[in-house]
Symmetry: C2
Subunit: 218 residues, 2 copies
DNA sequence: GTCATCATGTAAGCCGTTACATGATTGC
DNA sequence: GCAATCATGTAACGGCTTACATGATGAC
């Protein structure tokens, strides 16, 4: 789950850990901030497994962007220069992560693999990265989620001992049910949009819009 | 969290583990079934700490309540039948749990204590049991939750780099935001109902309605 | 110069899961 | 008698949190 989120964010551009956390909060549908205690070990693991590479940015180095398009080259140079000039090996410095081809493969695998506790969080995360999926896989994702919600709805209405519940418990159950219905309607809307897109797919293949390959911002 | 749910359900009447699990699914707002691997150890812990007592049905042991009010009548019959028919001490039998005064105290403490990861699940659970709370504590619970959601909303709208997101990520974020707004409106409705109730509190103190002290069903 | 914020990490532990194993009850 | 379901448990493990510890950067 964490791996998927990290790799997905790194597809948009190079980032350091702190920034990854911020984006998880407000780019993904995540309710709560992920903790550093799980983020940094995850990054270390991904680096060890070759899914990402880390370039250690030393103190007082100019940011990437100056003139060129992709930043890591100047970044590496800057890091080297900084290491030469000032401190030999700063104990703590900003580490910028970049996804590798192996990491991209891993990401694709994670994204396509259905997960066993297929809850809302998992689904939201996958949907956030849905532009990396083939249209049919994407549609399957939506349909699978819809089927789950429908299952849950019928299950809830079947039990139907709602009259025995007190006001508060009942209102929680009803609110839950309402939310499920609402989510189903939402999914229906998304699926409709999907089929519309698929009819126009010869015109614009890539559903990505308004996306700038921004480097890690400072 | 689990302890709170278990004890809360046992306040409605005696239950065995399997039934507790079912009620967690459809009486509480729980999305997924709790697993037995966490439920049974939790029950064992609660029993060891004296918060609940377990009467083993069909073990030749008479249930607690011979003549008294609470309704384990069917339990007694089952025990009698089991004693008549077969083995003296079956290795596995249905265990019916009952909350103790100590358990009720523990429940009250858990219910009133605000939790650090104060997420939706925690809130739903507490709200389900809100009839056990004093009106002011209940209102505080609602207000605290509302404040959190509002915080989150402003936080999300502050970041507002939504334009940089692709269609899918953006629609996830927007749906999340919409859900938060909807939840806030829901809470507002609940709080309005609360203040209405408080104006009539001399007429009916106990907000519990339509609740039958059902024994563990078979 | 010091305070808040940014930034990276480690250690301990909780809470829950999956997978496994077993026994009792009920319907046919 | 056999299958499905009800019912109780154990063992191993995983993911994520809190609390702790440290260092760099920028504002004032």
């Amino acid at each position: 789950m964490l791996d998927l989120a990290i790799l997905g964010l790194l597809q948009e551009g190079d980032l350091h850990g702190y920034e990854i956390r911020r984006r998880m909060r407000d780019s993904l549908g995540l309710t709560a901030n992920i903790s550093f205690g799980s983020l940094y070990p995850a990054l270390a693991r991904l680096e060890a497994s070759g899914a990402v590479t880390a370039t250690e940015r030393a103190a007082g180095v100019a940011p990437l962007s100056s003139g060129a398009a992709m930043g890591s080259l100047s970044g590496e140079l800057a890091a080297l220069r900084a290491r030469r000039t000032s401190m030999a090996r700063p104990k703590k410095s900003k580490k910028v992560y970049r996804i590798t081809p192996a990491g991209q493969a891993y990401f694709a695998e994670l994204l396509a693999t259905p997960t066993s506790p297929d809850d809302a969080r998992n689904f939201s995360l996958r949907l956030s990265f849905a532009r990396h999926l083939a249209p049919d896989v994407r549609l399957a994702l939506l349909q699978r989620r819809r089927a789950q919600l429908v299952d849950r709805l019928t299950e809830v209405s079947t039990s139907a001992r709602r009259e025995e519940l007190d006001v508060y418990a009942r209102c929680v159950v009803e609110h839950t049910e309402e939310r499920v219905r609402h989510d189903i309607a939402w999914l229906d809307g998304l699926m409709a949009a999907e089929s519309q897109r698929s009819t126009h797919h010869s015109i614009s293949q890539d559903p990505s819009v308004g996306h700038s390959m921004a480097p890690a911002n400072e």
